[in-house]
Symmetry: C2
Subunit: 310 residues, 2 copies
């Protein structure tokens, strides 16, 4: 059983979708990653920062699931990072209404001493310098470093982003961002170019159109589960990443074949995340539900053609 | 080994893509369907119409692959249906430059006598009245009727389209058309509404994003093979339908489980179709290449998670 370090935002979100809107609720990349990874009973720690306005109850939601929160700095006089967004009717696009960095503006991450030997490091979407700082604090090279990022850092911190990308094993990125990063429309070509930048593995997330895993000539595809309705996509990508990282930390098998399973676990957990606002669905999830949905994924994708070479 | 009747256009296409452009080349839905189905060595016949300008060589390409062409009427004094289109840079959208119906305007299909007992009927995209006429000529209810259509008929012949949809077993349709036909954005809900209109099975084609097969609570998904480049998407949907129909006609097993395999065969053949202009790639395709690509589809989609109920 490996250890997992997660760095990312712990935040307030306010979300509006065609189905309704929320006040400030629990959000943030590291929150979603941590909740997803906690399904695998790995030893995990979140490295983040919140303000004095952040409810202890929210931190307890992570601690209760055996996520170590000693690496979440609380800046008493500061305010927690706040994001607010509104989804369009197709649920595939959204407008950001508010981004208040608050305590995130001066965030200097500190990895807890007993996690500096973690096997797996999940660098959630944050400034690439923060991501790099976490890597530099590790006592030894982790077995697997996974990095998630977004177009914002390509626009304003591309050199720093490229420097950290060079040091990671897996880059998870969405399709438009993969195109922006490489200048290539074809995702196959984009994935190859990203591998030339450092990562041995590339995961391209296509939202409702699933996710692709690339390594050299190997490609694996996992669809998103077709749902009657997507209630709130917030956190789906982070939940995918958390499931991916948590499964690999648990199994300690970083082969391409096992990464296929990690992609399926990530997709499975993400399919729950979108069913309710924010983290709501992830907080009630049990093993039996996950088992049933993994079975749905098998039904959805597995077929019986027996190939006889002729 | 079942018999397969295919109705659809046999046509001239002129295509422009970012990679180049063609003069008038062999095209038409029934052409692509027939070429794909011919891979399964089923007895198949194409019902269509061409003008006196249509080269015998093109007809021979079908006949040489054991596709019965006695149901392709040749109107000596008429001109063959002609379509010309230009693809945008993303290859997902296109502009139609020319549509000359010519002999198609007065097409009255005649099913060859020895095909009126066919097990499988593939109604390619054409006026719904023409599709209905083929169904009415069958001596007995076929084991499986598959219908492909497009938004054009929803705009201008919706009642006739609904009448023929009511009589078929499988509707193949693209995602935007499924949404238009049902007024539902969710493809899961759209597929359910289409099943209420008659078909027991619905295949929703999502182009580069793959295809979904629905029957009641059953769902199966096949991705499109991730390709370095799509050279020309023309005929991909028809090739998919031809592979789907041909495989089912050959195996004579119309269960949901076997339809999964049919979807995989359809996707496999479509992945070749887009590699060159028009029918070019389909004319050189051999069994060994198909075998290798089916294997790629297995690598792309099959995973090893063993589920233990806990």
């Amino acid at each position: 059983m490996g250890k997992l370090v997660i760095v990312g935002t712990v935040a307030f979100d306010a979300i509006e979708t065609p189905f309704g809107k929320t006040d400030k609720i629990l959000g943030g990349a590291a929150t979603f990653i941590g909740l997803a990874a906690s399904q695998f009973n790995v030893e995990s720690a979140v490295v983040s920062v919140v303000g004095g306005d952040f409810p202890q109850d929210y931190l307890n939601l992570l601690a209760d699931r055996n996520v170590d929160i000693s690496g979440i700095e609380i800046v008493k006089e500061g305010k927690t990072f706040f994001w607010s967004g509104k989804y369009h009717n197709d649920m595939n696009t959204r407008d950001t209404l508010v981004t208040e960095l608050n305590v995130l503006a001066d965030f200097s991450p500190v990895v807890p001493e007993n996690y500096k030997d973690a096997n797996v490091v999940m660098l959630g979407n944050l400034h690439p310098l923060v991501q790099m700082s976490v890597l530099e604090q590790m006592h030894k090279k982790p077995k697997l470093v996974i990095l998630d990022t977004m177009n914002f850092w390509m626009d304003c911190a591309l050199d720093e982003l490229k420097a950290v990308i060079k040091k990671v094993d897996v880059l998870t990125i969405n399709d438009e961002e993969a195109r922006q990063l490489t200048g290539e429309y074809s995702l196959v070509v984009a994935a190859r170019k990203i591998q030339e930048m450092g990562p041995k593995y590339v995961v391209i997330k296509k939202g409702e159109h699933g996710a692709l895993l690339f390594q050299k000539e190997n490609v694996f595809f996992a669809p998103a589960l077709p749902l009657e309705e997507v209630f709130d996509p917030t956190g789906a990508g982070d939940t995918f990443a958390g499931g991916f990282a948590g499964f690999l930390a648990k199994t300690e098998d970083y082969s391409f074949e096992n990464m296929k399973n990690a992609v399926i676990y990530g997709s499975t957990l993400a399919s729950f995340c979108v069913e309710k606002f924010g983290t709501e669905r992830m907080l009630t999830l049990d093993d039996q539900e996950i088992y049933q949905r993994l079975n749905q994924f098998k039904q959805l994708t597995q077929f019986e053609i027996v190939l006889e070479n002729n």
